[in-house]
Amino acid sequence: MTVLVLGLGNLLMTDDALGGRMIAELEKSYRFPQEVQLLDGGTLGLDLLPYLEGVDKLLVIDALRMGAQAGELFRLEGEEVPRAFANKLSVHQMGLQDLLAVAELQGHLPEQLVVWGIQAESVEVGMELSPAVSGSVAELMLSVVRELQGWGVVLKQAA
């Protein structure tokens, strides 16, 4: 089983940096087995296609626009994902949606797809997460770790 944990978002745009920050946090806090790859995908679209090849389970982490209270956690799965992204709930819906569609056309679509994210408060230019999103990061981290453990991934705390 091959797992890709893909963080999306622009590191320069406050809450939009969530995906990339989470990847860095995960890398710092845990040791992952070889079959799990962590990737800060930035705001790339089709360029991420090679990384989807051979992936069985894909976990995307992204700042979301769900019309909810800032800081609220969301988990989307399978068919909800492209549909949710088609409804412009994330700031990257074009890139991710196109990416998944092309992956499907090529026969590389991972069999399982889960998105974990937090409702964004700010996507202005800035290097810090908003307090609301920042306050939910620990919970998101735990949720991501549990999701991976549910997939049978054995994680070790970093020394």
């Binding site: 622009n10 590191l11 320069l12 745009m13 939009d16 800060d40 995908g41 930035g42 705001t43 790339l44 679209g45 089709l46 360029d47 991420l48 296609l49 090679p50 090849e53 492209p82 412009k88 700031v91 819906q93 074009m94 890139g95 949606q97 196109d98 998944l100 569609a101 092309v102 499907e104 056309l105 090529q106 996507v123 230019v125 800035g126 290097m127």
Partner: protein, 570 residues
């Protein structure tokens, strides 16, 4: 009676570009180009260490992860008068070339071809005839009837799921599609092959860049990845051999697939050689230094300016003559919005005066875009592969002359045809071909240096801020895939005092200036025929021919205009 149509947003992947066009008698009579999302990212650089700037600027662009790194480190090197070692020049040339080659192929097949190739029509093509067509234009081996039949079945199955995915949002069956079904099927097959191809090509960035995406090898003064034949962790003979293989693969695909496809498609759309000229002024900063002297007079793509389509009068470029206007942009300048500002003195103070969303139209008499209007000697300039190739052609560069003359001859058209939508699309292919053919030389030079024991990749003489003057300023140039990119930095007491980036899409997508002169997109749309106002495919053709990418000019979607493509005919 004039009608106004709106296309918003216009890009297939990233960015946020809106076009408003007035149509009368089946032709566009006026046009406005706007970006409707703010991005004033330069402000976060103020006060930071100039040596760190490239880590931030790398994330300016959502798609090209090398271009803003390069422009940034060059700006700092220019300010501090740092000369980079020859190996750093060669590695940079290779990274830049690969970015351009990959980006051009992806643009052609995945963003632009669908303006010319009708995917739905491909489903009814005869695979045997497709094979004959493919074999008649190229030696590319993937050209059997069985192969095309397989592709056709794959696409049929995909379309059958009801999710068109990347093929949604186009105007299938539009009367402006002219290709026979077989050419459409060939185009679709190569669309898929290009996706496979790019995966390999981009590995070069992982090898030279230590990491991809977002390579981490850039450094003020050179590069950080060592060149060392005796180290597994450096650029060594094995890695050079692997890069050589990948470059050959890149070149073969460009020569045997991209260029033949480009010529085949273009031969059905020669009327577009008379549409979409635009401002007729071209600016190229030039790029790909042929020596490491640090000067700009020995660049593979030379630096220069062409005014009024006059190829006989190539002029030198002086960056001091660049200024940015905000008369029609949602910014205000401290000393009035009608005066231009050189980027060293640039200001990014936002001042939104547009309508509150949702709205029908922008107030195009006043401010109507988040993009500023850059001008050179107060003239609007087009940047991009066409500008690059025209400047090279006008300078007498033999490779550019050879490639341009070959394409013109194949299509049976004259040099005047270059000033057009078709010319822009063809020039991108020429640019790609020239780089695909040249980059093996840079790799060879790198191998030769290594063979002679020349291993230096970084000049650290001025790494320590104690060696810097109290004040310095520099201009970092780069010819990114989409065109001329400039970064301007002012350094004071070791920290960034001011930073401005003028990106290619700012030049091309910018609005009018105080004199009312149209920007390149706007000018290029004038007189474009529109067969069906509800399906303005022709607008997409011309705008896509520029390879618009407001991912770097602006990135975020606002709450309003986030539909995929909205067209309103009123």
């Amino acid at each position: 009676m004039a009608k106004k149509i709106v296309v918003d947003p216009i890009t297939r992947i990233e960015g946020h570009l809106r076009i408003e066009a007035q149509v009368e008698g089946g032709k566009i009579t006026n046009a406005w180009s706007s970006s409707t999302a703010f991005r004033g990212i330069e402000t976060i650089l103020k006060g930071r260490d100039p040596r760190d700037a490239h880590h931030f600027t790398q994330r300016f662009c959502g798609v090209c992860t090398t271009v803003h790194s390069l422009a940034s480190i060059r700006a700092v090197e220019d300010a501090l008068q740092i000369q980079i070692p020859d190996n750093a020049r060669l590695i940079r040339n290779l990274i830049m070339a690969v970015q351009n080659i990959q980006d051009h192929v992806i643009h052609f097949y995945h963003l632009h071809a669908l303006d010319w190739v009708d995917v739905v029509s491909a489903l009814s093509a005869d695979p045997k005839k497709t094979a004959s067509l493919a074999q008649s234009i190229s030696d590319w081996p993937l050209s059997s009837a069985n192969y095309f039949q397989g592709i056709q079945q794959r696409v049929k199955a995909f379309v059958g799921t009801g999710r068109l995915g990347p093929f949604a949002n186009a105007y299938w069956g539009h009367s402006a599609y002219k290709l026979p079904a077989e050419a459409n099927l060939m185009g679709v097959a190569h669309y898929l092959e290009a996706l496979e191809w790019q995966k390999d090509i981009i590995r070069i960035h992982a090898i030279l860049g230590s990491k991809n995406p977002h390579p981490q090898t850039f450094l003020v003064g050179g590069m950080s990845m060592p060149v060392d034949p005796d180290s597994q962790n450096a650029i060594n003979a094995d890695k050079i051999a692997l890069i050589g293989k990948l470059l050959k693969k890149a070149r073969t695909f460009v020569e045997q697939v991209y260029i033949p496809d480009l010529l085949a498609v273009a031969s059905f759309y020669k009327d577009w050689a008379a549409i979409g000229a635009g401002v007729g002024n071209y600016l190229s900063y030039g790029d790909f230094p042929m020596d490491n002297g640090g000067g700009t007079d020995n660049l593979y793509f030379p630096r220069g300016i062409i005014m009024g389509k006059d190829l006989a009068n190539l002029m030198p470029l002086d960056e001091a003559k660049i200024s940015e206007y905000v008369t029609h942009s949602w910014y205000s300048y401290s000393d009035g919005d009608d005066k231009g500002k050189h980027p060293y003195l640039g200001e990014t103070n936002h001042n939104y005066t547009g309508p509150q969303p949702p709205y029908e139209y922008l107030d195009t008499d006043n401010k109507y875009s988040w993009v500023k209007a850059p001008r050179y000697m107060d003239q609007p300039m087009e940047v991009g592969p066409l500008a690059r190739v025209l400047v090279a052609y006008a300078s007498g560069n033999t490779d550019a002359k050879g490639a341009v003359d070959f394409v013109l001859k194949q299509l049976g058209i004259g040099p005047a045809a270059l000033f057009s939508t078709l010319g822009r699309t063809a020039a991108r292919g020429i640019d790609c071909l020239m780089l695909a053919q040249k980059s093996e030389l840079w790799l060879q030079q790198l191998a030769d240096n290594m063979g002679r024991g020349v291993l230096e990749v970084h000049n650290s003489e001025k790494w320590d801020p104690a060696t810097w003057p109290k004040e310095a300023q520099g201009f970092g140039y780069h010819e990114a895939p989409r065109g001329g990119l400039g970064h301007w930095i002012r350094i004071e007491n070791g920290a960034i005092k001011n930073y401005q980036a003028v990106v290619p899409s700012t030049w091309n997508a910018g609005p009018r200036d105080p004199r009312g002169q149209l920007g390149p997109y706007e000018a290029a749309l004038i007189d474009t025929p529109i067969a069906d106002e509800r399906q303005p495919l022709e607008i997409l053709r011309t705008i896509h021919s520029f390879d618009p990418c407001l991912a770097c000019a602006v990135h975020l979607l606002d709450g309003q205009g986030s539909e995929i493509i909205r067209v309103r005919a009123l």
